[in-house]
Symmetry: C2
Subunit: 204 residues, 2 copies
Amino acid sequence: MVRNRSKNPEKRKQILDAATRLFTDQGYAATSMDHIAKKADVSKQTVYSHFGNKDELFMAAIEQKCDSYHMLDISMDDLSDPKGILLTLAQRFLTMLISKEALAVHKICAFESKSYPNIAELFFKAGPERLSGKVAQLMSKFNEQKILKIDNPKFAAWQFLNMVKGENFVRVEFNTDKQLTEEEVEQYLEASVDLFLRGYAWQG
Amino acid sequence: MVRNRSKNPEKRKQILDAATRLFTDQGYAATSMDHIAKKADVSKQTVYSHFGNKDELFMAAIEQKCDSYHMLDISMDDLSDPKGILLTLAQRFLTMLISKEALAVHKICAFESKSYPNIAELFFKAGPERLSGKVAQLMSKFNEQKILKIDNPKFAAWQFLNMVKGENFVRVEFNTDKQLTEEEVEQYLEASVDLFLRGYAWQG
DNA sequence: GTCTATATACAGATAGAC
DNA sequence: GTCTATCTGTATATAGAC
């Protein structure tokens, strides 16, 4: 009886937390129900009692992560300093992207996207799509207020967000030995914002 | 005796091919030695005789894929049509990126980058780093010939390549239900090349 | 060197006591 | 509802025949 909520919700939370942690750390196949039960400090049967089977537990765990995938809030009140706004956005976005948590969910959703398309879709909607939508709104406002000339705000949003990733994200993604310094990243971000501003400037 | 090359090299190749296929398809943990042996049409013991254990076989398989990760050749002879060159490059790059093969290696290297850092590093060097180096050379030439004003060719290369990925790559990466049409992708690529050309134009 | 058969460990999932 | 104990399949890896 998975639906019965008279079961101890604390244990449920313990299980879900442990599962989320282990699945995102090690992946689906490499994570065992025994390990989850042990880490959650409950018996294995309790895990099954709460979540039915491994698949359902996996879906619940990743779903939770997707839900809690918090938005970057982009203040769109004062647009008088586009460079400052975009630079701040770029910095925050990149910091979020390369955070251990976000990267782990990203990787597992991408990796399991064939086996669990609905999970990957969930992540895409909660993460990249949602953010790019927000940024597109920002681009739209820049255009309306004639701060930048942006015919297609959606394109501009994807261009900007992808550009910002740069070498830094790829290096983190593949865990390369050498990583970029903060200064290098900062320089890259500024150069990218400048490129973007020049490319979408009104006075061509 | 793994080093002894008097063993049947045909069988070795069969094993390696099967392993590469299965590992990239399903990941490390989800792929069994039994399955590899069966697919390679040899006995399991032969697999062990050739590669020692699962780890070594995995490394050999992915290494092979990285080696064969073929470069996009970028012709740098006639630079008179920068828009045409960049558009062609963008199209070829994106096509390569979202190809089933490239995507599979990309995903598994990213996913296993913590467990197998040397494999991920190998891929990074053979893939993203090598390509961005080539593109940086192109950017450098654009600058030398005053076709574009590019102070930092390395930055420009990463900016261009990342930008080109756009929404399309992310949607393929997460296997989303809705995928972009060819027309949409083509429009995005042209918009991105235009943005890049305006941003790095000589006459600001 | 390659095969079949087997040892050993651990996986997901269930049965039954309390 | 939660626990301990167990069933059953399958994994990695090895032994021994040819």
